[in-house]
Structure formats: structure tokens, C-alpha cells
Symmetry: C2
Subunit: 112 residues, 2 copies
């Protein structure tokens, strides 16, 4: 793969000036990726995607972790914007934020 094509020069690699997306975009992508950078959070996201509406503490039963730990993961996902939580009486229903999910998908798909 374009290796050792110039035995004497220092131009071994492709030195073309690449226009990188601004750093802000990298931060945005990294934050969304980070939200999903844990198996439990991937499972939660998929669970919420699979439901037509939203789910409450049922997530705790689906994910084999302590309730407080699941709540922590939910908080992380909520802070990333990927999910939203609505208080509904004594419980809280979580839903996927389709817009954020689409944004994440587009950022990843844009890696090319």
C-alpha cells in the first residue's frame, strides 16, 4: 500500500493537505460515540429503539445491573441527548431522541 516507493526521500507518506472538519465536529462525534461506548448503554439504546414508545424501570430488569448503575447509564445517555426521560407519575419513561440518533448516524456515515 504505497510503501517504500521513495527509497531516499522523506516523502514516504501521502502529504496532501487534508481539510479536516473543525474540531467542534470531532468533539461532537466523540461525545455521541462515548455515550454508546459501553455495552449496557448500547443495549439500552437498542431497547428504546425497539419500543414504539418508551420504557421505564423495566430497563433495569432487562439490563443485568443494579438499579443505581442503570440510572447512571441513563443519565449519561440523557446528557448526550440520545435519549429523553419524561416523568409520568411515579415512574419515568425514556424515549429515543430520533433527531440525535440521526445526527450520530450521519456523523459516523460521514467518515469517508
Amino acid at each position: 500500500m504505497a510503501k517504500k516507493q521513495t527509497p531516499q526521500s522523506t516523502q514516504i507518506c501521502d502529504s496532501s493537505a487534508v481539510r479536516l472538519p473543525d474540531d467542534q465536529s470531532a468533539v461532537g462525534l466523540s461525545k455521541l460515540a462515548w455515550a454508546v461506548a459501553h455495552p449496557a448503554r448500547v443495549r439500552i439504546v437498542r431497547l428504546l429503539i425497539g419500543r414504539t414508545s418508551c420504557v421505564c424501570g423495566e430497563i433495569v430488569e432487562e439490563i443485568t445491573l443494579a438499579q443505581s448503575t442503570v440510572s447512571q447509564h441513563l443519565k449519561i445517555l440523557k446528557e448526550s441527548g440520545l435519549i429523553q426521560g419524561e416523568v409520568d407519575g411515579p415512574r419515568v419513561c425514556y424515549c429515543i431522541n430520533r433527531e440525535k440518533l440521526t445526527e450520530f448516524k450521519e456523523l459516523v456515515a460521514g467518515l469517508e
Copy 2:
């Protein structure tokens, strides 16, 4: 959004049985997401994607971090499979692993 439709019942949320992808898939996605869950690593990935072939320690100049830190990030990316490194004389050229990148894209795109 389907809130408070049943005032007396416990059936507030959509309790349909959702078939989740196996846990292995969640682990795979989380690992790839984790590789990109840092702005510097996003920048490195984008840099390598932008180049036709590969790059060496030039990455260190592009990323405003110490050489040892960049090397650490490169190691993480390499372990995730997203990039590959080839020793070429005194330097090391890194390339994007298109297959892994595609796998990542598909996993993210499959979130629906």
C-alpha cells in the same frame, strides 16, 4: 408521546417483547464506539481517511498533543482494528482499515 394514557394501570410503557441483538453485538459496537470516543482519535481517523495512503509521525504535528500521547491513541485505534500500522524503515505508516470502518458504520446505521 404516549404519556399517561392509562391512569390506573401499570401498563404505561410499551411492553412488547423486543428481540434485542445478542450481547456480543453490543460489545462489538461499544468497542468501536469507544475507539472513537475521544476528539483526538476522531481527528486521527478522519486524517487517515482523508489521505489516499497513510501517514506517519506527521499525525503528531496535526494533533496538538505530546508524541507519547498520540502514540497511545494510535495504539487504542490499532487495537480496535480501525487502523493499521506498517513499519516502513525508521517510521510507521498508519492506514485506515476500511473493512472495520464499514463494520462500524453498519453497526451504527443498524440502530433502528
